[in-house]
Each structure stands twice: as structure tokens, then as C-alpha cells.
């Protein structure tokens, strides 16, 4: 992938108290690129993902999105977040709003688009993720896999320049993982810029342009999935892969 860089992290550091969770992280994601971040628990992958739209503030370094440095707070930051979709491990659908309202809320309230137009687009998105027939239900009435697909539709409704996935399938029952990965794979194929933190090695293998391996707050290595899984360079990566692939 050689496109122009959309997300650039330079020298990013973050501490949780004495814990140095992100250590001099440099990462560049090109437009249309799908980067899958893997690594052991506590390696800082989720923090990295959340730092990109500043849900986690960083202590030093710079994060540039689409040519602009992330603003610290306020309207500038809100504007930037509206251009970056985020999908959470625990879905975080708005519990007091219907499925359709969940998808419509961002475009109507943040982008100030007309509800009638947004509604059509929202229904089309729900159709796409296979939940259009549940539009009037509330999140608690849906299965985990369905909720996560709605969450993806909610993020897509903002017509974002990039999507961040923070362990999108980790809270799902095994039989529901596939339906979510399917939606993600089709997005990847259509050229959506994606940063995906996941434990799904299958997804990394067939959908990623690049795999980034993190351990102890550092980017240990990055390579194409073919290279990484066939021939990991670092001991940490070899160790990690041996643990997950032998079962």
C-alpha cells in the first residue's frame, strides 16, 4: 500500500500512572489501507486505537489525521471525531434509542443533515448489515452480533474517512463472530481505511494489508500478513504466534 498517509502517529507516548502503555509509537496508515493490530493482552493495542480519535489523550508525540494535528478539546476535536468512525468491543449502542435512531443520531445531530434523507441512508445501511427488519427495536432486544453490526452501520452513517475497530468481536459468542467479520471484510474490500485491533487471526490473514504486532507498549514489527504469519522476525512475535496457533 503506497497511498497518501491518512493517519500518522509520531513518537506517541502514554502513561497510565507508572505504566508506560505506549512507548515511542510510530505508525502511518495510508488511505484505503487495512491495518490489523495484534498482540498479547495489555500490550497497548486498544489504547493505540483509542488514541487515534483521542478517546485516550496521549502524553507526548503527535497524531495527525488527514493532514491536521489532533486538536486537544472542544469543537475542533468533535469535528475530527465525526470523520473517524469507532466500533467498540462492548458495542455501546445508545440504550434508550431504537436501532434506527442509533444510526440516525450522528448525521442528524452532529452533521445537521435532514432527518428524512438520513433515514433513507440509515435504512440502506441497516439493510446492508442485515438488520433492516429490526430497525424499530431497542439495542437490548438484539443479539451481540446484531448489535455490533448496528454499531458498524452507526459509524458508517457518518460517512467517515476511516474506521477504528477496538476488539469488535471479543465480546461476542463464537457463532456470532462470523457475521461481524463478514461485514468488516466487505468494508475492507471496498477500500475503507481501517485500523482493527483484534484477536481474529483469520481476519488478519485474509483482510489485512498490513499486520502490526504490539507488545509491552511498543510496535515490535509490522509486515504483510503473509510475511508476518509465515516468518515472524522478533522473538516476541514468534512466542505469541506459537501460543495462539498451536491450539
Amino acid at each position: 500500500m503506497t497511498g497518501e498517509a491518512l493517519i500518522v502517529l509520531e513518537n506517541v507516548n502514554k502513561w497510565f500512572g507508572p505504566l508506560h502503555v505506549l512507548q515511542d509509537v510510530d505508525l502511518s496508515v495510508a488511505r484505503g489501507e487495512v491495518v490489523v493490530v495484534i498482540g498479547p493482552s495489555g500490550s497497548g493495542k486498544s489504547t493505540l486505537c483509542r488514541a487515534i480519535n483521542r478517546l485516550e489523550p496521549i502524553d507526548s508525540g503527535t497524531i495527525v489525521f488527514d493532514g491536521r494535528v489532533l486538536p486537544a478539546e472542544g469543537r475542533g476535536l468533535a469535528k475530527l471525531r465525526s470523520e473517524v468512525g469507532m466500533v467498540f468491543q462492548s458495542f455501546n449502542l445508545f440504550a434508550h434509542k431504537s436501532i434506527l435512531q442509533n444510526v440516525m443520531l450522528g448525521p442528524v445531530k452532529v452533521l445537521k443533515q435532514k432527518p428524512a434523507e438520513v433515514r433513507d441512508r440509515a435504512m440502506a445501511l441497516l439493510e446492508r448489515v442485515g438488520i433492516a427488519n429490526q430497525a424499530e427495536k431497542y439495542p437490548a432486544q438484539l443479539s451481540g452480533g446484531q448489535q455490533q453490526r448496528v454499531a458498524i452501520a452507526r459509524a458508517l452513517a457518518m460517512q467517515p474517512k476511516a474506521l477504528l475497530f477496538d476488539e469488535p468481536t471479543s465480546a461476542l459468542d463464537p457463532e456470532m463472530v462470523g457475521e461481524v467479520l463478514e461485514v468488516m471484510t466487505s468494508l475492507a474490500r471496498e477500500g475503507m481505511t481501517m485500523v482493527v485491533v483484534t484477536h481474529e487471526m483469520g481476519f488478519a490473514k485474509h483482510a489485512a494489508d498490513r499486520v502490526v504486532f504490539m507488545a509491552d507498549g511498543q510496535l515490535v514489527e509490522q509486515a504483510t500478513p503473509e510475511e508476518f504469519f509465515a516468518n515472524p522476525q522478533s522473538d516476541r512475535a514468534k512466542d505469541f504466534l506459537s501460543k495462539i496457533l498451536t491450539h
Partner: protein, 218 residues
């Protein structure tokens, strides 16, 4: 028994005027304290440190001050600053300022019952702080806030009687007038109690209705 009723009927005008003022004090201060208290609650969870500090300072100062002192301050000290408040205005202000500190804490604890992921998802969509609070967090917090909110407002309704000590003719001032008229205090107090029970019952009803309404809406 006839005396019990005649206490009310013979002094109907006094009871009517007293309770009318009580209801006015309650309604105006309830609206005022809900607005001010919600604003202060928003301050306490805002991303701006100065606002958080102000909210916390307000609650610590006002909540720990006896209500009579708040009244005394407004009735005796504020006019010295060339601010003219008549007695009822001072009473509205004192009740609003005082009760808002309690409302603020109810709002804040209500906000804390909403899963943090809800606000995160809203922020991730690009909502501003007021939108996150108004669209996502407060509507969900309301469910948990209803019982303590009603408790605080019931307490405020009864607190209106403090105004009697500051020359406001409300229900709490009735016994003093009645003593001058030589009416039996026991019956007078009974009637005032009945009056308050009647005033408070709609609040209890409102609480039940809201709790039922929001219990199913999820």
C-alpha cells in the same frame, strides 16, 4: 369536632393566603433549583477543570450551610450590597440556591449510573459535551434520578416553612397568627399537616408515574 372544622372555616382566608404563598414558593423554587442544579451537575462532569472546581465548591459551601443562614444572608446581607429583594423574592432565591446543591448531587449520581461507554460512543460520533449530556447521558440518568429528585423537592416543599421566620406569610407562619387570635394550636397544626400532605401527594404520584413509565421503556 365542630371546633376542629371551625378553626379552618373561621380562618379560611389566612389558611388560603398562607398555602397559596407556600405553593408559589415551591413551584418557583422547584423550577429554579432543577435548572440551577442540573447546570451545576453538568459543571461537575464537564471537561473544563474550572467548571468542575466551581461545581464542587458550590456544593461543599451551600450544602453545608444551614438553610436559615442562607435565608438570613439573603434577607439581611444582600440588601446591604444595594440589591433590592423583597421578602418573598429573598425566600425564592434562598430556596433555589440551597436546594440546587442537593439537586446537583442527585444529577451527578444519576450520571454515574450511565455506562461510560454510552458517553464514549457519543463523543466518538463527534458530539459536543452539551450534546453528549443532553442527548445520551441525562435521558438515561433520569430513571435513576427520579426517586432522589422527588425526595429533595419534598424536602424543599417543607423547607418553605423557614420563610415564616423571615416575614413571609406562608403556611409555616399560620400558627403564630392563630396564636394571636386565640385559636387552639393543636387543631391549627393538624390542619397545616393535612395541607402539606395534600401538597406532597401529587409529587409522590408523579414519582410513581415516572418510575413506571421508564421502567418499561427499555
Amino acid at each position: 369536632m365542630t371546633e376542629f372544622f371551625s378553626v379552618l372555616t373561621d380562618n379560611w382566608q389566612l389558611f388560603r393566603d398562607g398555602f397559596t404563598m407556600t405553593v408559589q414558593l415551591f413551584l418557583i423554587s422547584a423550577v429554579g433549583s432543577l435548572l440551577l442544579g442540573t447546570l451545576l451537575g453538568a459543571f461537575r462532569v464537564s471537561p473544563v477543570p474550572a467548571l468542575r472546581w466551581f461545581g464542587a465548591a458550590y456544593v461543599n459551601l451551600v450544602r453545608n450551610t444551614p438553610l436559615t443562614l442562607v435565608f438570613a444572608f439573603l434577607v439581611f446581607a444582600v440588601p446591604k450590597l444595594d440589591v433590592n429583594l423583597d421578602y418573598p423574592q429573598a425566600a425564592f432565591t434562598a430556596l433555589t440556591v440551597y436546594t440546587a446543591a442537593f439537586i446537583c448531587e442527585v444529577v451527578r449520581s444519576g450520571i454515574n449510573t450511565v455506562a461510560p461507554g454510552q458517553a464514549e460512543a457519543a463523543r466518538a460520533l463527534g458530539m459536543t459535551f452539551p450534546q453528549v449530556l443532553g442527548q445520551i447521558v441525562l435521558p438515561q440518568a433520569l430513571r435513576a434520578m427520579v426517586p432522589p429528585l422527588v425526595s429533595v423537592e419534598v424536602a424543599m416543599l417543607k423547607n418553605t416553612t423557614v420563610a415564616a421566620g423571615f416575614s413571609v406569610l406562608e403556611a409555616g407562619a399560620i400558627p403564630a397568627y392563630m396564636a394571636e387570635r386565640g385559636e387552639p394550636q393543636f387543631y391549627v397544626l393538624l390542619w397545616i399537616t393535612i395541607g402539606f400532605l395534600i401538597l406532597i401527594s401529587p409529587l409522590v404520584f408523579l414519582q410513581r408515574t415516572l418510575e413506571r413509565k421508564w421502567a418499561v421503556a427499555r
